[in-house]
């Protein structure tokens, strides 16, 4: 057994564990914050006040909701398949959190007392594909929730959602291919580092990928089931969609959290691949600025989500499918061809 | 380092489970899944050989096998849907219009 112990690098494991803990906490808390911002902003757009009773400006409202989720009675509908019904939220939340380990928050920063530290848990050779793989696993949660609840609204919501996610995942991945061609790597950190030219402004969105960015953004919104593509949970037709039968218990909290973390992931991916990640002016001299830039870029996407939700009507289902297959997919393919041609000319 | 034979054994066991599944399962979709399991077992063999021979061919082959599996799945499920439209059963034994 001693050989096993010797082969372990304890410092590395400790460092990784601390980082994982930090990222996990960020993942856990981001839904709380995002939810508050979303409610307040929506209220602003709709000329309402929004939550303003619990704590200053209603800041504690989401936390109160969280506490309620934990303590509320957990009801499993009689007709539901208990096993699948319970499994669904877990299946949804685990891949969502597994992605967080490759978020590249910032460059290597020289921390006091610790020394230079990388601002991500890990990075690998196939990081981008890893993100896509994990997000593609999330769809099972939706499917199982829809199927396990054994209710027609849930089933329809689940069916719609899986069809939608499968369809838009194609154009989402293809939209990333152009940027991959330009950076010549699938490693998220390398992709970010590749965009550090021009004083930190050589982002892929400026370097020949504007079309890719737009395609990515649209498919990403559809992928996360947000307005105007929130067909799976269209309240007016499907009550709550796949989570109709989940009362506000811990299970619902998990579904909810997974959705917000997925939104975060999609925003991180957009930032990393198209908006230069942590890159920006003066990052080379003050690496800490990288963290700030990253946060600002993510916040921009989060605000975009809310803004869209406040202003756009919902698509019809056939429109959604037609748009995905007949407009976005061909555009994504054209984008790849353009990127390849530009790549041949420029590099 | 895990010995090559362990991987080969695992993949052979999985392949065998797949074969047995094809023999005992009566549900067409599950039967089809057993075939997918068999293909996966083969993939494991290919990747482990590729690793131990130090040759990339095995991994390339796996890549091709995955493409084929995807195509097969698409066509196979389409066939199942078209059968189901005409006759509402997925029991292999009941697809017996063409008797032996």
């Amino acid at each position: 057994m001693s050989s096993i112990l010797e082969s372990i690098d304890f410092y590395f494991i400790l460092e990784s564990l601390i980082k994982i803990a930090i990222v996990f906490v960020i993942g856990l808390l981001s839904p709380v914050g995002m939810n508050w911002v979303e409610r307040r902003t929506l209220a602003l757009i709709q000329n309402r006040l929004g939550p303003n009773r619990v704590g200053p400006f209603g800041l504690l409202q989401s936390i109160a909701d969280g506490i309620k989720f934990v303590f509320k009675e957990d009801i499993i509908p009689l007709a539901a398949n208990r096993w699948l019904y319970t499994l669904a939220p877990i299946v949804m939340v685990i891949p969502a959190f597994m992605v967080t380990i490759v978020y590249p928050f910032g460059p290597e920063i020289d921390l006091p007392f610790i020394g230079p530290t990388k601002m991500y848990v890990t990075n690998f050779n196939v990081g981008l594909l890893y993100v896509l793989a994990m997000t593609s696993l999330g769809v099972y949660g939706i499917i199982l929730a829809g199927w396990g609840s054994n209710s027609k609204y849930s089933l329809l919501g689940g069916l719609r959602s899986s069809a939608q996610v499968i369809s838009y995942e194609l154009s989402l991945s293809l939209a990333l291919v152009g940027a991959m061609l330009q950076s010549g790597s699938l490693d998220l950190v390398k992709i970010v580092e590749n965009q550090s030219g021009w004083g930190g402004m050589q982002w892929h969105i400026f370097m020949f990928q504007p079309l890719g960015f737009i395609i990515y953004l649209i498919s990403a919104i559809a992928e996360t089931n947000r307005v105007p593509f929130d067909l799976p949970e269209a309240e007016t037709e499907l009550v709550g969609g796949f989570h109709t039968e989940y009362s506000s218990s811990l299970k619902f909290a998990m579904l909810f959290m997974a959705e917000y973390v997925n939104m975060l992931t999609v925003a991180v991916l957009a930032t990393v691949v198209f908006l230069g990640g942590w890159n920006g002016p003066f990052v080379k001299d003050f690496p800490v600025l990288g963290l700030l830039y990253f946060f600002i870029k993510i916040s921009f996407f989060m605000f975009l989500y809310i803004w869209l939700r406040g202003t756009l009507p919902r698509f019809r289902y056939d429109q959604l499918m037609n748009f995905g297959w007949k407009v976005l997919l061909p555009l994504a393919l054209i984008n790849i061809v353009i990127s390849a041609v530009i790549g041949l000319i420029v590099y | 380092m895990v010995p090559l034979s362990w991987y080969l054994a695992l993949s052979a066991v999985l392949f065998t489970i797949g074969v047995v599944g094809v023999v005992i399962q009566r549900n067409i979709i599950v039967l089809f899944m057993c075939i997918e399991l068999m293909l996966n077992a083969v993939n494991l063999t290919l990747v482990s050989f590729s690793r131990y021979l130090g040759d990339v061919t095995g991994q390339l082959f796996v890549f091709i096998v995955m493409a084929v599996a995807a195509a097969e799945a698409a066509v196979g499920l389409a066939i199942i849907i078209s059968l189901f439209r005409n006759r509402e059963t997925l029991n292999v034994d009941e697809a017996d219009l063409l008797k032996l």
Partner: protein, 214 residues
């Protein structure tokens, strides 16, 4: 036999192998297709972990993207679409096959373990007929090495895959789509023509019969 050294990769392998085998058994023994599908997904994900253990990160990730993320979603989707719940207990006409399965299983396993003993005792004589130069253990299995092979040596199979995929798209669209109005019309016209022809032939036959009678 020498002492088997236990190290972390071996422990991981044993854990993953255990999960894979249990899930595979669950796949074939379940009556409810959705449970079977879930077991298969577990097996596939474990397999991806094994690929990582084999230093093949690209294949591992592709395994999840393609198998777990696309193929199995399709399976689950079809199960949902056709709304297949638990199999009712029907009389299994081919029950004898189950008795066939056990000895078959044992025979195959025996054969398998014979081979494994054999592989363990025979050292590999040559590494590979076409091993690339350099240090393959480091680079083998990365995106770069696979891409290099794919676009040089294996460019023809890679291109041929596109024919395969295109054909699969055409084929599955054709088989799975509902009959459009146009299709139904066309089939009906064809059948009508057939019927008209038959009637005409029938009339002609009657006429000739009458003539014969006359």
């Amino acid at each position: 036999m020498e002492q088997i050294a236990i190290d972390i990769p071996r422990l991981l392998f044993l854990a993953f192998a255990g999960i894979a085998v249990v899930a595979a058994f669950n796949l074939i023994l379940q009556r409810n297709p959705i449970y079977s599908a879930l077991s298969l997904i577990v097996t596939l994900c474990v397999m991806a972990a094994l690929f990582l253990l084999l230093n093949a990160p690209f294949i591992a990730v592709i395994q999840i993207v393609v198998y777990a993320g696309a193929i199995m979603v399709l399976f689950v989707f079809v199960i949902m679409l056709l709304n297949i719940r638990e199999e009712e207990s029907k009389i299994d006409r081919q029950k004898y096959l189950k008795w066939l399965a056990a000895p078959m299983f044992l025979a195959l396993l025996a054969q398998v373990f014979a081979v494994i003993r054999y592989v363990d005792t025979t050292p590999p004589s040559i590494p590979s007929a076409n091993a690339p130069g350099g240090n393959p253990a480091e680079s083998l299995g990365t995106v770069e090495s696979i891409a290099n092979a794919m676009f040089t040596t294996y460019v023809l199979p890679f291109e041929a895959t596109s024919v395969l995929i295109l054909m699969a798209i055409v084929g599955s669209m054709l088989l799975a789509k509902r009959d459009s109005k146009q299709d139904i019309e066309r089939i009906e016209t064809a059948l009508d023509a057939e019927q008209a022809e038959q009637e005409q032939a029938h009339l002609a036959a009657e006429k000739s019969n009458k003539e014969v009678a006359a």
